[in-house]
Symmetry: C2
Subunit: 188 residues, 2 copies
DNA sequence: TAGAGCATGTAATAGGTTACATGATTAG
DNA sequence: CTAATCATGTAACCTATTACATGCTCTA
């Protein structure tokens, strides 16, 4: 069973600085959103668990906003556990890719449907590609001092390479689908 | 909420021929395994649901093996529902990519760990790449008659392109990690 | 003074995997 | 005879998302 990775995402984020549940969600949304998502429904219960296991500890409350804010800091044991996880190979998920499921059964679809779907897919990834470029520029400018920066850029590069491979695949696939449509219209 | 896609996977498979729950699992394992997985715990309950909704119907039992085997056939309503789903754009999942999470926090890891992990990752995708080539040859030979073949090849191409992009990314990333390690050992 | 953002949390639900139970038959 | 394969199913569990509740404070 895929062990709960949210725990490690939280431990990892807390190595950067102490954060509250709210902070963690914000952090996830702006930094790792392109390959990782977290929801409050996961974060808060797991924060409690981690405190019980002494992997993190609440720091003194601060009043930064309209409400008290409990920031959690990672403990030495927390760092050990994180390091342990980091030393294990990454499980690779089988991943369910919806567009491929549709394409696999596309013979049952109306003629233009498959093409439209792949075109939309292409558009999504082209847009992502643009955003990655932007993020890289911004990261280098704002976070050029961070020792973590090189690692962050590696994750961005992953996104960039996947996206451009998928745009290329979409182009090829759209061409093939058009060919198929022509052939079935005018069977020589 | 991501509507239950297993329903459509089953409906789609039953357009090829009537199948039992057992058959469906086998079919998934050998045809769409590289982008879709199904488990019995999903298949059997959903078969019942689909029967109740009249999207599929049990055919007469056959004795092909040591036990009775109930094959289900898709109904006209089932085909309609499938076509409806096929006409909608594919939702794209945010996807949680574990190796990127590890890399993102890799500054906390022991020196060689990140490199080892990316190397293992590279090996996995290189192996996949080889399997895709094999599958394509086999498919063309065994299923060259199937009208669905062109669609199936498109899903294979996706796998091939993703895999080779990821091998390239891994190469680049391993090089970058080695550079980082050298720099931290001998800070000029 | 209304609404947006801050901040924490929970309950309901969905979607899925794993492990197990059951029992027949066939191949080695 | 024993193990593997055929075949169907279920219960327990895990992970995660969504939607909601609460209530404060700052801004327009």
């Amino acid at each position: 069973m895929a062990e709960n990775r949210t725990r490690y995402a939280i431990l990892g984020a807390l190595t950067l600085e102490p954060m509250s549940g709210y902070d963690l969600k914000r952090f996830a949304d702006e930094s790792v959103a392109h390959f990782w998502a977290e929801s409050y429904g996961q974060i808060y219960p797991i924060l409690k668990q981690l405190v019980a296991e002494k992997l993190i500890a609440p720091t003194t409350r601060k009043r930064t906003g309209p409400r008290d804010r409990v920031a959690y800091a990672i403990t030495d044991r927390g760092r050990e556990v994180l390091r342990g996880w980091l030393s294990e190979p990454a499980e690779h998920q089988i991943g369910r890719i919806e567009i491929l499921l549709k394409l696999f059964f596309a013979r049952n679809a109306a003629p233009g449907d498959a093409i439209r779907i792949v075109e939309a897919f292409r558009g999504d990834y082209l847009a992502k590609l643009g955003r990655y470029e932007g993020t890289e520029v911004r990261l280098r400018a704002e976070r050029g001092d961070r020792a973590d920066l090189p690692y962050w850029l590696m994750t961005l590069s992953y996104g960039r390479q996947i996206s451009s491979a998928l745009v290329a695949w979409a182009d090829e696939t759209i061409a093939a689908l058009r060919r198929l449509a022509r052939e079935s219209n005018s069977p020589s």
